[in-house]
Symmetry: C2
Subunit: 219 residues, 2 copies
């Protein structure tokens, strides 16, 4: 099989998810870096809009040249392309609850706290503390519900004894929340699972700082 | 099989999606209405938070009493529970592109334009025209990309000759956009597919106005 290509940005939360999934699957891929800040954002270029009309990362190009956008769709595709190791639990209800937890992050936290939204709010005249409050509000709304849903769980990860898409989304979102200094003390089960994930090579190698497009000196 | 129970609100975009999916599958279900506006919102009650800690609709209770939240997770669950008629295309890449289109709506349009977000913005002092601009901005961002992705398609619906989850999400979002008077003239393929869906009984019967909790006189 020829290589997969991932349009990525080292610090993109959604691209981070897909990198973890690719690593868990042991799939080789080439990174094409799309700098989300430089020159007003390379994601807005006509060239990249030709790949992904939304102008967002990540995008995956399959070995056959087909483009798949949206991190959740890409992770589901990878799970169908190569079923082992599974990124979803086997039991149908647990699978659904795993997908639901992922969606809580992918739909109800991240899109609100994404770069383009924070930029919009700043253009409306919001001060940094207003933006920070907004950011933290949606993190807490989502994480409170997630902690409640998994706090009595006995599995090593959120929904299974192996990492699934819910864990992948959690790790990438906690990385992002840490950048914004959001305190996560109220989420002991979530942060414990995050720590358990971070020591795995597949997660460690997907980390933003390990990416070819990460700057040598971090801002 | 005993009945499924859907916690729903007649005008909720996400609950509308699940109602269409249930109808397409021909699955019988009981509606429990959660009024999102009355008394500050019944979704915030302790009783409902016990079902869904996010305090959002929809939630599905399975015949066995398990709770599944998040419309995308519920639709995927229903598609696994009863594979026919399929809510996803067969081809793996087309399946992925169908899921991606759904995610463009479910993650990148709807959460930004959802009730709780508009309420947050108003609390920050935004005027109605500022909120309307915000609302329309995210509709256009998403629909522009979607139109681009499907405009050359030759299938009856977005990704297949039968309605899939992408079409379900599209119909519910267009209903919502119409409420906010967002002009959709720039999206001929999307609006054509919307019209094709709306004449199907499974879509028509899921419409907000047809729900048991819809008021007799619409505001």
């Amino acid at each position: 099989m020829s290589k997969l290509t991932l349009y990525s940005y080292w610090r993109s939360t959604a691209a981070y998810r897909v990198r973890i999934a690719l690593n868990l699957k042991g799939l080789d891929y080439e990174t094409k870096a799309i700098h989300l800040v430089k020159d007003g954002g390379e994601q807005h270029s006509d060239a990249y809009r030709g790949v992904n009309p939304q102008g967002l990362v990540p995008s995956l190009v399959t070995a056959e040249g087909d483009v798949i956008t949206q991190s959740m769709a890409i992770m589901e595709y990878l799970d169908e392309l190569q079923p082992e190791p599974a990124l979803l639990p086997e039991n149908p209800v647990t699978r659904a609850q795993c997908r639901a937890a992922a969606q809580t992050i992918v739909s109800d936290i991240h899109p609100l706290d994404n770069l383009r939204v924070l930029q919009y709010l700043k253009k409306q005249g919001w001060q940094q503390d207003q933006v920070d409050d907004w950011y933290a509000h949606w993190i807490h709304q989502g994480f409170k519900a997630l902690e409640q849903q998994v706090k009595t769980g006995t599995t090593d990860y959120m929904h299974a004894d192996h990492p699934c898409i819910s864990d992948i989304c959690l790790v990438a979102q906690i990385y992002n929340a840490n950048r914004f200094d959001v305190p996560l003390d109220d989420y002991p089960r979530l942060t414990e699972i995050n720590r358990r994930c971070l020591v795995l090579n597949e997660f460690a190698n997907a980390a933003p700082e390990q990416q070819p497009d990460a700057p040598e000196v971090l801002s």
